[in-house]
Symmetry: C2
């Protein structure tokens, strides 16, 4: 009963449902995802999804969790290619975070913002999100050791950094920041400003 061995009537309906739901979300928003439409698109009946997900909410939570994993992958990729000697590394991760959100607005909205996600759904979702957070804490602690970043509670610093990029992404996605603004410049400005606030002030030099 491994993932591989699933080849029943449909093949792998569970995975197909996740893919199709994600596609619908990116195309028509989360509101366009409907159990019946999913069935129609995949050539199964409207109740078929219920064999794989307790209800619509559970399906959306699974899609959201997959989104966090994709986001984590991208951040790890960027991190691997960034310079390791300076906090620029941290800033690039912040930039990539916002880029991911802007490229996948509906999916990103689903990852947060679901008010249907009661606290009981969080274990599944929280795990994926927590992994990203812990990665961030790690990087911060690294630069605390080198003396680049203030030696404060690294979790608090991570929350602040997360809040900044998440907030910026959210404002852009929801249209509060107009597209006439220089979005790329804004991303740079925000990541730099927050990082400046986290940095140790060096008394000498410009």
């Amino acid at each position: 009963m491994t993932d591989q061995a699933r080849a029943y009537h449909h093949g792998d309906l569970r995975a197909a449902l996740l893919d199709e739901a994600a596609a619908m979300i990116d195309q028509g928003g989360a509101g366009s995802v409907t159990m019946r439409a999913l069935g129609r698109r995949l050539g199964v009946s409207r109740a078929a999804p219920y064999r794989h997900f307790a209800d619509k909410n559970a399906l959306l939570v699974a899609v959201a969790a997959a989104g966090f994993e994709r986001l984590g992958d991208r951040l790890r990729t960027i991190d691997a290619g960034a310079p390791r000697s300076s906090v620029e590394r941290l800033r690039r991760m912040g930039e990539e975070y916002v880029r991911f959100a802007i490229e996948n607005p509906a999916h990103y909205r689903l990852m947060y913002g679901r008010e249907a996600l009661t606290r009981e759904d969080l274990p599944e979702l929280g795990e994926a999100a927590t992994a990203i957070f812990e990665q961030l804490v790690d990087v911060i602690q690294t630069y605390q050791r080198t003396g680049s970043i203030k030696r404060q509670d690294p979790r608090a610093q991570a929350y602040t950094a997360w809040a900044a990029v998440h907030g910026l992404a959210s404002l852009v996605i929801e249209g509060q920041i107009h597209s006439t603004d220089d979005i790329d410049g804004l991303i740079r400005h925000t990541t730099r400003t927050v990082l400046d606030g986290m940095r140790v002030r060096r008394r000498r030099g410009a």
Copy 2:
């Protein structure tokens, strides 16, 4: 036909709808707001709301806009009572922003996060949100003149500050920041860090 003169069959159904919808949102989330439930609660029929709002979305937009006005009021109140000589004034506004969101989570979620709010809805909503933003830009410019804050594009700085407090509020509301964390301390930490990044570095003194 002023607001005052509305005293038809129900009295002032339009206002009552806005109040009741806000109450339902704060109690059971935006998902619990239903045209039919609104009618039931107010003792009118299910279609009565349609005499005052084109559809459910329009009603929610109006509620959201009212939320921005309440938020703006609170920020102005705090601003009036804050010390005017230092950027502490700005920090307190940030704190108050996050507090408002945490105290009215469902309402705050509605104010942002509505994916149903297409761009056509924005004029109404945008006006209320823009007023808050412009106020923020004003305060920033004030401290740019006194030399406390870096002389960069004040709009970019305002977006960054907005992003930080909005992001923090959002993370708390969505449960990404666990209530076991010291939320008040986190609010202080975030507002201080961002403000530090916006500040002019003074070469002398500690």
